[in-house]
Symmetry: D2
Subunit: 229 residues, 4 copies
């Protein structure tokens, strides 16, 4: 996993109005500015229809939010790896809690991303699922207890033992797999807590996208990363 | 339905390699050229990651291949109407045989497109489903018997009675709904046959995308349209 | 639709513990007793694993909660019409809000039930979907606004205009299709209100299954039916 | 895994007409007779609507074909663990290739079966997925390459290296997890080959259900098991 710099702050734009279309490009620029100022890796995952605009505008790493386990062909309305790669994405989220996938599909997508030299970020809901996922050799496992998503209750502070267990299990199965955590991350101290628990960064959405001043929150997150190094 | 010119030749790019990324833009330009030369409405439905590039390049109508029945918010990996509209799409395919949807989702998506002044093209698999769909008041119903898709056996010639029945049922339920047909359309005579059966055009994919010379097939289709007027 | 006596009180056992296994058989017996005492048609829809026990025990009509659009063959873990018919079910719920189906599946299942001389009860979420469903010629359409299910706020009293509109639309599309309504039905007056709005009965679940004294509620419902005749 | 006797011949009845209703009971009796005559563990997985009849008739282990990751409550048309347990099933198939599940659902179902002291048999499509599944600590992993199902080309003879790799990976992750294999098993020698590769039995469907003389095939399979001990 030397294809991406860690620690990483990965921002999922979901389908928020504040991160759709022109707003997606603007928010990505803010991410890029803070990343360049601080040297911290900030990456973004915009919607598919915004992927190319964002990739054409910024130089930070851009991820898709989802791809399907398909090859080029007859799959109307599905997401082809080649389409997001040509648009400029360097990787993709897989199995987000809002887009859960079948086990066989997760395995197939991880294999496809590996063959295409793209980065796979598989979201998981607990320690056991994280351990199983690690066996599939993705680049990154991101633990996100679904019940905390969007709550402002940070997983890194409310469930530290689950994060610690996940980090240990993933490392045991495959030391090359990086662990992130997400859900409820809104403050710099949540990011710092996540790193202290052994993760290599956070997956965040509303904490940035819905913030009154996203730049300020980006800075706070980046400083938290720098302070723990 | 005076928001789109009929008859229409609507090309579904699916996830074909020949219609992904740069290829999608090039094929769309060919469609535009033939449309401008002949005056026949040719529209395209590229993949999501290519939607904005295509919309930014050509002036013919561009459709999404799918949208989800969601509002802006927390729907990672799903397709938001607002994202495809801002990218430049004027409408969307719904319920393609490769992306079948729940009945309640189809109704919700049609309502969303209507509220957003976008054009809804609902794909159906037989006459009964077409009749039910027409009751939901989409702009367009496109009959595509799944067993004929990609076969080169044109629905308009092998199943004329199903097309005729569909046109009649849809018209009876709601005279404002336009009927197209698709599946197996590869020649100008297939297009002419479709129009003679009462449809207002065709939904085509491999017949164009996989053709050795797409421009030639586009011309043949356009001439078939002109010859039946 | 002279295969089933109307008005009908149709009880969906869902997967409630109070209506699983032996409890399902006992609740069905109570339904049968009240039905025999009052002459009102009370029918039950237990879980699949309880279907045969219930059918073997009571003589009232028994419905499945779901079947899949499949033919006999290789469909592990799916529900075959022939299996529920041989177990003794006379019909099936289709497209319940907790088990929404694709439009093409709904049409295929209705066709299968018709061919097997079984009764199809398609659940719908609003008037537009009910109208579309009626075009597919099921025996029964049951309107259940999902936001009211399990609330105790009866659709027949809180949304009378939606019920009236649904009854009118369904009748207009196909006068042979019977309309029921459900969601929030807990009292006799809710049943009476439903019948006065033009429905031919109710689909009820927690109102009966979760009642302290289901027999008492059954009696109240039956008397409401008798009082409106 | 001392809750079930190994080696095991586990017969999936799918939704075959030959194994529906009365036929399911009859085939289960044949399985029981051969099991009693030979002392080999033969278990059956009938459809849900037949589960109780089969459990009431035979004393061999009976499995469900699928359960859903739900608790008692509002899940119309879904399969509740408690319902199949009360009907007499001692375990369930999970994630069959014809009923693939989300990773999070597989984990939740395994946990539910463990808490209920039921046996979990998770089907997998390749070695990598089997390894990941083993990390979830089911009782049994059953490798079934989907492309061989129903072909008569036995996985144990055409893909011995995949079977061997799966057995090794599963054992490495968790020595308590038993590995079976399936797909294309029609002869005693296929069963013997499976056991020699390190599996503890086979998951079979059409090889038994579609056989002209299922008793004869059962005997052949049982003798193959005995010959390898």
């Amino acid at each position: 996993m030397n294809r991406i710099k860690i620690p990483i702050i990965l921002v999922n734009f979901k389908t928020y109005a504040e991160a759709t279309g022109k707003n997606a490009v603007r928010l990505s620029k803010t991410a890029e500015e803070v990343s360049q100022e601080t040297g911290v890796n900030i990456s973004v995952a915009p919607q598919l229809a915004d992927l190319k605009s964002v990739c054409d505008t910024v130089s930070i790493p851009v991820f898709a939010q989802h791809i399907d386990p398909i090859l080029p062909g007859s799959s109307t309305g599905h997401v082809l790896l080649e389409s997001v790669k040509e648009a400029g994405a360097i990787g993709t989220l897989i199995n987000h809690s809002e887009r859960r996938l079948k086990l066989s599909a997760i395995e197939a997508i991880i294999t496809r991303t590996r063959d295409a030299n793209m980065i796979s970020v598989v979201c998981t809901n607990n320690a056991a699922v994280s351990e199983a996922t690690a066996a599939l050799k993705p680049d990154i496992v991101s633990l996100e207890p679904p019940e905390l998503i969007g709550t402002g209750i940070p997983v890194s502070k409310s469930r530290p033992e689950v994060v610690t267990e996940t980090v240990a299990l993933v490392r045991h199965v495959n030391p090359c797999v990086v662990t992130l955590c997400g859900a409820g991350i809104t403050k710099g101290e949540d990011v710092a807590a996540a790193l202290k628990l052994g993760t290599k960064g956070v997956l965040v959405a509303s904490g940035i996208v819905k913030a009154k001043d996203p730049r300020k929150v980006f800075m706070e997150f980046a400083e938290a990363v720098l302070s723990t190094e």
